[in-house]
């Protein structure tokens, strides 16, 4: 592949040392993801998918090994630098949405822009535009508690994409959705990936979802055990 590698992990290890038990959640993961690729990670519960996402996106630190994002080693960045990097270049979709319940849908979506110091008016305009793309224009003023699970997930996706990130990390973005909504969401992600060459790393249990990825990685016991080309 002649394309530029945007995410590269080398011999990544993660050991959790909470309390009496030690969990070796990543056991030497090597991974390179070129810009614009859509990668699906699959595997049984507890195999280390979320851990991989967290460590590779800089939300968590590796125990050993290295991760480079756009050529820069995460371990060389301090917390503030990582935060700043996330606000400009990354977007996150969580399994449990994690919207701020006290903010309206539009306020939730525009928050990353405000963090990146985009002027308030422009931020609001972009936020509404993205809500439009996820077909929630008329729900902009609603608080998350007033939205259905699928609607909340779409707000979360809008929030992840609003700052036009280079990389989107999605942890089971369709886990709580019915197959129809799930297909809609995937359509959206695929389209954005294609149109703006965003790199998309998504964790899923759903074969229909993973079938739309360029590449499927299967994990077991903290290691990538199988790789399938798809698309």
């Amino acid at each position: 592949m002649g394309e530029e590698t945007i995410i590269r992990g080398v011999d990544a290890h993660k050991v959790y040392n909470s309390g009496p038990v030690t969990v070796h959640a990543l056991r030497g993961v090597n991974l390179a993801i070129p810009r614009g690729e859509m990668v699906a990670i699959m595997g049984p519960s507890g195999c280390g998918k979320t851990t991989l996402l967290n460590c590779f996106s800089g939300l968590d630190d590796l125990t050993s090994g290295e991760v480079r994002i756009e050529g820069v080693s995460l371990s060389g960045m301090n917390d503030d630098a990582k935060s700043r990097y996330r606000s400009r270049r990354m977007g996150f979709v969580f399994q449990s949405y994690n919207l701020l319940p006290v903010l309206s849908a539009a306020e939730n979506v525009e928050l990353p822009l405000l963090v990146a110091k985009v002027p308030a008016k422009e931020a609001r305009r972009k936020a509404l535009a993205l809500l439009g793309q996820v077909e929630l224009d008329s729900w902009a003023g609603h608080k998350p508690a007033q939205l259905s699970a699928g609607q909340q997930q779409r707000v979360a996706i809008a929030r992840a994409l609003v700052n036009e990130p280079a990389i989107v990390w999605a942890d089971e973005p369709t886990g709580n959705l019915d197959s129809e909504t799930s297909a809609q969401i995937m359509d959206l992600l695929v389209r954005l990936n294609r149109e703006s060459r965003q790199t998309l790393v998504l964790v899923t249990h759903d074969a229909i979802v993973s079938s739309r990825a360029h590449r499927i990685l299967r994990m077991r016991n903290g290691q990538i055990v199988e790789e399938t080309r798809g698309g």
Partner: protein, 978 residues
């Protein structure tokens, strides 16, 4: 007291009930126990928050206990075995009577079988005494003539070596000196004393000190400095043969328990006096003093309770807050429990069980914490407040601690029960999904009914208040009516408008400058607490319903910068949780309101002290007076021989005098007379004083010309005394209630009132009041007339003299006083420095106010505990949200800022509301009651200090969980499932 017993029963019943439930429903008990165990640190905060109310109650009681104890001990020192005193007292002077009266009364008591074990004749005189060798003197030495054969029941005088002493054993010119007299005269055994006795023609008595007696029992009678003589010898020395002026009576029983027989003995004494037609009066001195001591204790408790009431109230809010929060936190789990088939009753029980545990633990700790707080108060009271000879020792009645425990537990428990009941009424589905409970039509009907009921109640209160002329109805009536109407508006869906309008009306009702109180009959304490609650409650309602709108508008206007996302997030949380925010803001506001008020009082006092001193002194720096001698012969000649005229302002004209007569004064058409001092002022005083008037007559008739002259200036009113000897000026203490003399039974005089002044023998003079002074005077209170009036109507031996000095600037007043007292020592001349006296009183009262502020500052702990609980809760409840914020790109500092801003917002609102209300309310009080006496000012420096301290404390107490939250690694935060 009835309350604690009822409350104790209630609390016992509650604990019993809890025990029964524990046994009958072990599953519920296990659930409750698990909830308690789940977060030990939380329990700590909950209990710490809950115990504050109890601590306030307990410390109030303990402070009262201590004061009562101190004053009781003082009473026992002052009176020893003496329970009653028989004398003929006139305006503070003891008139003599034949010793045969004593024998008659003693005989009657024996015949009546009265429970007394001692009756003793006494001749008690106060006079200047000088120690010749030691060259030290004191103008106020008491000389007591005792008859040793009647003294056994009062305990013997004891020497410093512990041996019993007897006045019978004294040689012809010997006396015993008690410890205090020995110290004040610097006298040792065998030294000779000169006693200056007499009001007109002085008799010199020489005496030698035979022994120093201990200051205990009779040796410390009324804590005086005493020389003891044999009664016969005293009678001879002071030209009072066959006469005494005090009969001391001791009831059967000890120093403390003899009081129980006072009623019986007093009755027997009165009967004896009446049947023998004696001009004597019985005073049950000890029981009166005991009652006073008890009252002082009770007043102190009430004062601390009233001030602490806002702390207690804040504590109640804290309890509600904590429990609603605990409930919120468990909402999903409660919902699941309901879905699994738990009855609402079971949930309530589980919650109440948990609450009972907290209530009992917190009340117990609070009662003891109050003990410590009380000790601290007493300690500072001892250090800061002058209290003369009375030693201050901490003392408490164990019953007080129990009372505080019971009251605190009851208070906590009831609050918890109500909170639990609310919590248990959850909708299952919404509880599981953690959604807010919706408004239903059932609920709006409830609001309507409640609104109408409350409004009716308010209307009734208002009507009652106005018809009965009482603030107890006028203060809360219209606000309750307003809130009722507001609730009706809520039921129609106009919550914001309705409650905002109602609250604004309430604020106006309380704060507009007209008086609602009936000063004669209303309890100021209750009115005050009520007023504070209405004010703070209304302000909170307005805030809660409007601040989010206001802030959002502000945000929209604010710039873009990196603060923007932080600000939006920080503001959104408290505004989403209105109830929680309102409660927390209220806690701060309640306490800051009270602290601000006190500091306003302090500031007003400080800013008006200058004017106050001027008005009190009438322009005089030093006042000198004799109490044991009439007019000092050749006073001015002696003065001129010893001082130079540049000592005084305006030379010798700066020295004035007044003939003083202790008199009874009554309104001519009234039949009650009161003790007042009649000041016959000389021409110098009339012309040099600077006392001003609140009111005076428009004109008077000049007696020498027969012409009516207008009175226009202060000076002309004073001069009118000179030209018309039927005129009098009174100070404000004779004109109804004021800052020194609350609404007691007193003369109520206005210009034009006709009064009569009488002496002990019925000599009288009728006077017309021409003016009322602007101040109630502390040192020269009374009725002022021309000097000639006093001198012609009343005999010289009844009079004393007061001298007034205006000093040249830069004079050493202390040295002048010392010289003056030395020169006129034999006349018993005493001096006061008015500025210094008032200054000391001022300092003491400022100190007490500071102490009060500090006490209330403890209440701030409630608010701070409240904030800490909220923050801890927020950190837990927002853990995954914090993770999301971090993922979006919030830095640690931004997350920390969100929390701190949020806390600051709540603290600023609470502090701001409290301080603002305190200032405005103080202004109202000033405008209604004190505008004519003092000037209004706001002590900004003090207030800023308070605001600063409160804010720093708020931030400091919450910083820890906030920092913890910001340090949370994002992955960790996101993963968290509660």
């Amino acid at each position: 007291m009835g309350l604690p017993e009822d409350a104790a029963l209630a609390v016992l019943a509650g604990i019993g009930l809890a025990a029964i439930v524990l046994l009958a429903r072990p599953l519920l008990a296990r659930l409750a126990a698990r909830n308690i165990r789940r977060r030990a640190s939380r329990v700590l905060i909950v209990v710490a928050g809950l115990l504050v109310g109890t601590a306030v109650i307990s410390s109030s009681l303990v402070v009262g206990d201590t004061l009562r104890y101190i004053f009781l001990e003082d009473v026992y020192v002052r009176f020893g075995a003496v329970d009653e005193v028989v004398s003929n007292e006139f305006s503070g002077q003891l008139l003599s009577f034949p010793e045969s009266h004593f024998e008659g009364i003693a005989t009657d008591l024996t015949a009546a079988g009265s429970p007394v074990d001692g009756v003793a004749p006494t001749l008690l005189k106060v006079m200047p005494v000088r120690n010749v060798v030691g060259n030290k003197g004191n103008q106020q030495i008491t000389v007591m003539g005792l008859n040793a054969s009647h003294e056994s029941a009062f305990g013997p005088l004891t020497g410093l070596d512990g041996g019993a002493l007897d006045t019978d054993a004294l040689g012809p010119t010997e006396v015993f000196a008690n410890e205090r007299a020995a110290a004040e005269l610097n006298v040792t055994l065998g030294q000779e004393l000169t006693l200056f006795y007499g009001t007109t023609n002085q008799t010199l008595v020489h005496a030698t000190v035979a022994a120093v007696v201990r200051g205990a029992g009779t040796g410390s009678y009324e804590r005086r400095a005493i020389l003891f003589m044999d009664l016969r010898r005293a009678q001879a020395a002071f030209n009072e043969s066959g006469a005494i002026n005090v009969i001391r009576v001791s009831n059967v029983g000890g120093v403390a328990d003899g009081v129980a027989l006072t009623d019986r003995v007093t009755q027997d004494l009165r009967l004896s006096i009446a049947t023998r037609h004696l001009a004597l009066r019985v005073q049950d001195v000890k029981s009166e003093a005991v009652a006073q001591a008890v009252q002082v204790g009770r007043d102190a408790t009430e004062l601390f309770l009233v001030m602490g009431a806002f702390g207690i109230l804040a504590g109640v809010l804290l309890i509600v807050n904590i429990f609603v929060m605990l409930a919120e936190e468990r909402k999903p789990e409660l919902g699941v429990a309901r879905a699994l088939g738990f009855l609402r009753r079971d949930l309530l029980t589980t919650f109440a069980l948990e609450g009972t545990f907290y209530a009992v633990l917190a009340a117990a700790l609070g009662a003891f914490a109050g003990l410590g707080l009380g000790y601290v108060m007493v300690y500072f009271f001892d250090r800061l407040v002058p209290h003369g000879d009375v030693p201050v020792t901490f003392h408490f009645d164990p019953a007080s601690v129990v009372t505080a425990f019971v009251a605190g537990a009851a208070l906590t428990w009831v609050t918890i029960l109500i909170a639990s009941w609310r919590v248990s009424r959850l909708n299952i589905v919404r509880a599981i999904r953690d959604l807010p409970q919706p408004a239903t039509s059932e609920r709006s009907r409830g609001f309507l009914a409640a609104g109408i009921l409350v409004a009716l109640g308010g209307a009734a209160l208002t009507a009652w208040g106005f018809s009965r002329d009482t603030g107890m109805g006028r203060i809360p009536g219209p606000p309750v009516l307003g809130i009722g109407l507001g609730l009706v508006a809520v039921s129609r869906g106009w919550a914001r408008v309705g409650l905002t309008l109602a609250s604004a009306f309430n604020l106006a009702w309380i704060l507009l400058p007209f008086g609602l109180l009936n000063q004669a009959t209303d309890s100021v304490s209750i009115a005050f607490v009520m007023t504070g609650m209405i004010l703070v409650g209304s302000a909170i309602l307005i805030t809660v319903f409007n601040v989010s709108e206001a802030l959002r508008a502000l945000l929209r206007a604010a710039g873009h910068g990196s603060g923007r996302p932080v600000l939006t997030t920080a503001v959104s949380y408290p505004m989403e949780k209105r109830f929680r925010t309102g409660m927390t803001v209220a806690m701060f506001a309640l306490i800051l309101f009270m602290v601000t008020l006190i500091s306003m009082v302090q500031g007003l006092q400080a800013s008006s002290i200058g004017t106050f001193v001027e008005q009190q002194s009438g322009g005089y720096d030093v006042i000198a007076y004799t109490t044991s001698y009439g007019e000092i012969p050749n006073f001015r000649t002696i003065l001129q021989g010893n001082f130079t005229n540049d000592t005084f302002l305006g030379g010798w004209n700066g020295v004035s005098s007044a003939s003083v007569l202790p008199a009874k004064v009554q309104a001519v058409d009234g039949n009650r007379s009161y003790d007042y001092t009649l000041w016959g002022v000389d021409n110098f005083l009339i012309r040099s004083n600077r006392y001003g008037f609140t009111s005076f007559l428009p004109s008077f008739v000049n007696e020498s010309t027969g012409a009516r002259e207008d009175l226009t200036t202060r000076e002309s009113v004073w001069l009118s005394l000179r030209y018309n000897h039927t005129l009098a000026i009174v100070d404000r203490s004779a004109a109804g209630p004021n800052q020194f003399t609350p609404d007691e039974d007193r003369l109520r005089i206005v210009p034009g009132t006709r009064i009569r002044a009488l002496d002990a023998d019925g000599r009288a003079v009728n006077l017309t009041v021409v003016g009322v002074l602007e101040q109630a005077l502390q040192f020269t209170s009374g009725v002022f007339v021309d000097q000639e009036v006093v001198q012609t109507v009343f005999p010289a031996q009844e009079q004393y003299t007061a001298y007034f000095f205006q000093m040249s600037p830069g004079t050493d007043i202390g040295a002048f006083r010392a010289n003056l007292e030395r020169v006129f020592f034999t006349y018993g001349l005493q001096t006061i420095d008015i500025r210094e006296e008032i200054g000391q009183a001022f300092d003491a009262s400022q100190q007490v106010l500071t102490l009060m502020e500090a006490y209330l500052g403890m209440g701030l702990l409630v608010g701070i505990a409240g904030l800490a609980v909220i923050t801890m809760r927020a950190v837990v409840e927002r853990r995954t949200q914090i993770g999301a914020l971090r993922a979006i790109g919030f830095t640690r500092r931004m997350v920390l800022s969100v929390f701190l801003l949020e806390i600051a917002l709540i603290a600023v609102l609470g502090v701001g509301i409290g301080v603002a209300l305190g200032i405005v309310f103080a202004y109202k009080i000033w405008a209604v009651y004190f505008a004519d006496i003092i000037r209004f000012s706001v002590p900004w420096d003090r207030l800023l200090l308070i605001i600063g301290l409160a804010s720093v404390a708020a931030i400091a107490s919450t910083a820890q969980p906030a920092i913890q939250a910001s340090r949370l690694p994002p992955a960790e935060a996101l993963r968290y499932i509660e």
